[in-house]
């Protein structure tokens, strides 16, 4: 099983190496290699998942990587590289390889004719490798390594069209923003290691509960949590994700919907024992999640770019996941991650299909797509319904579980935030659908819409697969599943006690009603146009402006950057140049001056050399023969 887990990780990196080294010229070959490798990973991860369902005992193996022995006051350092296969990692690996596989198949159609076709597949393979490595690694150190690799490959993919300004800027923004989170993460890991002397998840899980009284643990937990905050784009690190939509749309589906941003959620789940030990930090996680959920949903209301709407929706849903985790249910969070991966990947790929057909991202410039692109349209609708949380689609079950968790753990305020967000979610998704897919053709100003056409099979097939999963994927967390198979999601992946699936009508019915309300309101404004949205925007001008500017967070950051960071940078630059550089330059010039004086010894006169040599010989002989001299005197 360990071998399989390693193989699972190695397949994509092997594909990456093969593509970069040999296959770059043959586009079809590159895509083939990447797809076959990821398909192999998918098969292996499915096998692992099934094996784990059969016997959920974690399998763990590690080898020593680096060992610095205990020397004096230094406590030594031991870093192992290992693989941990348990239900959590098996599930996550399956999601990652499944979405990656579908996205790769989809990309064959989407990226057709792009000059960087091979490079694209190489990057995708690299990303898949990093993500799978992150999933199966068994300690914080390895996780951090792969975490950074994920960040790197995400940077490469966002900035894939590197010659254009916007993607290049966006990739930089993503990278730098992630750096803030990663820095905290790294410090947290180091503190963790200093406190407990190990990076290993399993060992830490045994140790941390014994140290719950440690106030220090809260600091560690918060620092470790900044990593997921950056990677999962939670407020205040959310700014990079919408901009990251400059990358190719399948990349957005893979990275910024299903896998990479879910890495943060995964890490919190993986390190759940750490957070669970500090209730205050759990509270913080829940509130950050809840705030991001509603905050991003509000911004999504006024966005015009189809991908940005989805991006803010992703933020909002990630907020949901953190809300669930923070409320104490790892099961609910991971369940929503799973279902969200299906329907959000579906939505992104659907959006990609639309963009591919129209070369247009503004939803108000597309309309009537329902007739020209039926598969795309209906899969998109299924995805939106699932995201909106309508019974019995996947999103319903996971969202329901989250709301139930919040309510059960006494987070009433968070529960209401969740409900409002559900309403907003349904509203903005159907705003998009009514405008883009069912609008009247007469109102179109863009000329592309006329020759829109359905995408090729390589693109629609993944859509259909994901649509099916979005419909039935949630059933694993439903009471029916328990009836049929005697278990459910909550009894497979859980922390502490298993959480058997059950449905609370007091939660499910209001959630469904608000979702239907949202859809209805969207129909009133954008479908039937009973109320003109321009008029509404005029009436709510200040709010609309605020939302359109995304609560001015970017502007605030720019301001901070300009006035605080640059000023600080100038000061540090001065210190660096004058003090530090001065010291080292001084050292250098001192050495050079010393050398200039010393080289005068090399006079080139043979006799001086001979003098020194024989003088040294005499001294050495005298020194070596001192005991001989003593003997002579005696």
């Amino acid at each position: 099983m360990i071998t399989l887990a390693i193989l699972l990780t190695i397949a994509p990196i092997a594909a990456y190496v093969l593509i970069v080294a040999f296959a770059q010229r043959w586009k079809a070959l590159s895509a083939g290699i990447a797809i076959v490798a990821t398909g192999g990973s998918l098969v292996i991860s499915l096998y692992l998942l099934i094996a784990m369902i059969g016997n959920p005992t974690p399998v763990h193996d590690a080898m020593q990587w680096l060992r610095i022995p205990h020397i004096g006051g230094f406590r030594g350092l031991e870093i192992v590289a290992g693989v941990l296969v348990d239900p959590l990692s098996a599930l996550m690996a399956t999601i990652v390889s499944l979405v990656a596989f579908l996205v790769m198949v989809y990309s064959v159609g989407y990226m057709k004719g792009d000059e960087g076709f091979s490079r694209y597949f190489a990057y995708l393979s690299l990303f898949t490798f990093s993500m799978l490595g992150l999933v199966v690694s068994d300690n914080y150190f390895m996780t951090f390594v792969f975490w950074e690799l994920v960040g790197l490959s995400s940077y490469l993919l966002i900035g894939f069209w590197r010659l254009k300004d916007a993607p290049a800027e966006a990739s930089k923004k993503a990278f730098v923003t992630n750096r803030w989170g990663d820095f905290g993460f790294m410090v947290g890991i180091i503190l963790l290691f200093l406190t407990f002397g190990t990076f290993d998840y399993t060992a830490l899980a045994a140790m941390i509960p014994l140290y719950q009284h440690l106030g220090f643990l809260a600091l560690i937990a918060v620092l470790v949590f900044t990593g997921p905050m950056g990677k999962s784009a939670q407020f205040p690190f959310h700014v990079w994700l919408p901009d990251a939509m400059e990358g190719p749309t399948p990349v957005s589906a893979l990275i910024h919907a299903a896998t990479m941003v879910a890495a943060g959620v995964y890490l919190v789940a993986r390190a759940f024992v750490l957070f669970h030990a500090v209730p205050n930090v759990m509270e913080l996680i829940a509130w950050i999640g809840g705030f991001t959920a509603i905050f991003a949903a509000l911004i999504a209301l006024v966005q015009k770019d189809i991908k940005r709407i989805l991006a803010y929706s992703t933020l909002s849903q990630l907020g949901y996941m953190f809300l669930a985790l923070g409320s104490g249910s790892m099961s609910a969070g991971m369940f929503h991650l799973t279902t969200h991966a299906f329907f959000k990947a579906l939505l992104f790929l659907g959006a990609g299909s639309v963009i591919h057909a129209l070369e247009q991202q503004d939803i108000f410039k597309m309309c009537g797509l329902a007739k020209k692109m039926p598969i795309t349209t209906w899969t998109f609708v299924i995805g939106s319904l699932s995201l909106g949380g309508l019974f019995p689609l996947a999103g319903f079950w996971s969202k329901d579980e989250i709301l139930l968790t919040a309510l059960k753990n006494g987070q009433v305020a968070l529960y209401w935030i969740g409900v409002i967000t559900a309403f907003l979610t349904a509203f903005y998704m159907f705003r998009l659908i009514f405008t883009a897919f069912f609008g009247k053709e007469a109102e179109v100003h863009g000329e592309h819409a006329h020759h829109a056409h359905e995408s090729p099979a390589s693109m629609t097939a993944p859509l259909i697969v994901l649509a099916v999963l979005s419909v039935i994927g949630g059933l694993v967390g439903s009471p029916w599943w328990t009836q049929w198979f005697g278990g459910s999601f909550g009894t497979f992946i859980y922390f502490g006690e298993p959480e058997p699936a059950h449905i609370d009508l007091a939660v499910a019915i209001p959630a469904t009603i608000v979702a239907l309300l949202g859809i209805g309101l969207a129909w009133v404004i954008y479908g039937a146009k009973l109320i003109k949205h321009e008029w509404l925007a005029e009436r709510l001008r200040p709010l609309h402006t605020l939302l359109e500017h995304k609560f001015y967070v970017d502007e605030f950051y720019a301001f901070v950057f300009k006035w605080v960071m640059l000023l600080l940078g100038r000061i540090l630059d001065w210190i660096d140049h004058r003090v530090i550089d001065g010291a080292f330059d001084g050292l250098g010039s001192a050495t050079r001056a010393g050398g200039g004086k010393l080289r005068l010894i090399q006079s080139g006169k043979l006799q001086s050399y001979a003098l020194v040599i024989f003088g040294a010989v005499a001294l050495v002989v005298i020194l070596l023969s001192t005991n001989l001299i003593g003997g002579f005197v005696k």
Binding site: Q607, L611, F614, A618, I622, S625, I629, F632
Partner: protein
């Protein structure tokens, strides 16, 4: 008893000759003192029963090398010969080093326990040495011959100088020095080749 007297006489002559060679101001006198010193050393060899080495010493050192030195002096010296053998500025330091070295050698020598072997029989050593040269040291013997040959060629090439068209002596000198070094290391063929090459330039 006669051997002891002979030793002290010859040893005193050697020491006096050596000092005189170093401290005299006339280079030609120095060469003469050197020849005398070498001759006394040859007598010491014979005193030790090494008659063949003594003979070679007289032939080569006294007969050839000393004369070569005199030639060298005559070919190069053009200002006053009476003041040609001066010390440079390392004189005091060199004296200190020489004394230190002498002290260390003497101390280690006298500190060591030496058991002197009895004097060998008075037969001539020439037959034994010939046997050694043509059996144990035959390879070294041959190489010594090659070394002498290459030194001969090298000396000619370096020394001829102006006879060739080129007036630049540096490449030729360099080649010759390298050739000599190569020959000393045993690679006589290389040394020879380089010497001729340097000369042909």
């Amino acid at each position: 008893m006669l051997g002891v007297i002979f030793f002290y006489v010859f040893a005193a002559a050697v020491v006096v000759g050596a000092f005189a060679m170093v401290f005299t101001k006339n280079l030609v006198h120095a060469a003469l003192f050197m020849a005398g010193t070498f001759l006394m050393i040859a007598f010491l060899y014979i005193l030790m029963g090494a008659d063949y080495v003594g003979a070679v010493q007289i032939l080569v050192y006294v007969g050839a090398i000393s004369i070569l030195f005199v030639f060298g002096i005559m070919l190069t010296k053009r200002d006053r010969i009476e003041d040609s053998n001066r010390f440079n500025r390392y004189g005091p330091a060199a004296t200190v080093v020489a004394i230190l070295l002498f002290a260390s050698i003497v101390i280690t020598t006298l500190g060591a326990a030496i058991r002197n072997a009895p004097a060998p029989t008075g037969d001539s050593t020439i037959q034994t040495i010939a046997n050694i040269f043509l059996s144990d040291y035959v390879l070294a013997f041959e190489f010594a011959g090659i070394l002498l040959l290459s030194a001969l060629v090298g000396a000619i090439v370096i020394g001829q100088g102006q006879l060739k068209r080129t007036t630049k002596l540096r490449p030729a000198a360099g080649g010759g020095v390298q050739g000599g070094g190569g020959a000393l290391g045993g690679g006589a063929g290389v040394g020879l080749g380089q010497s001729t090459k340097g000369g042909d330039k």
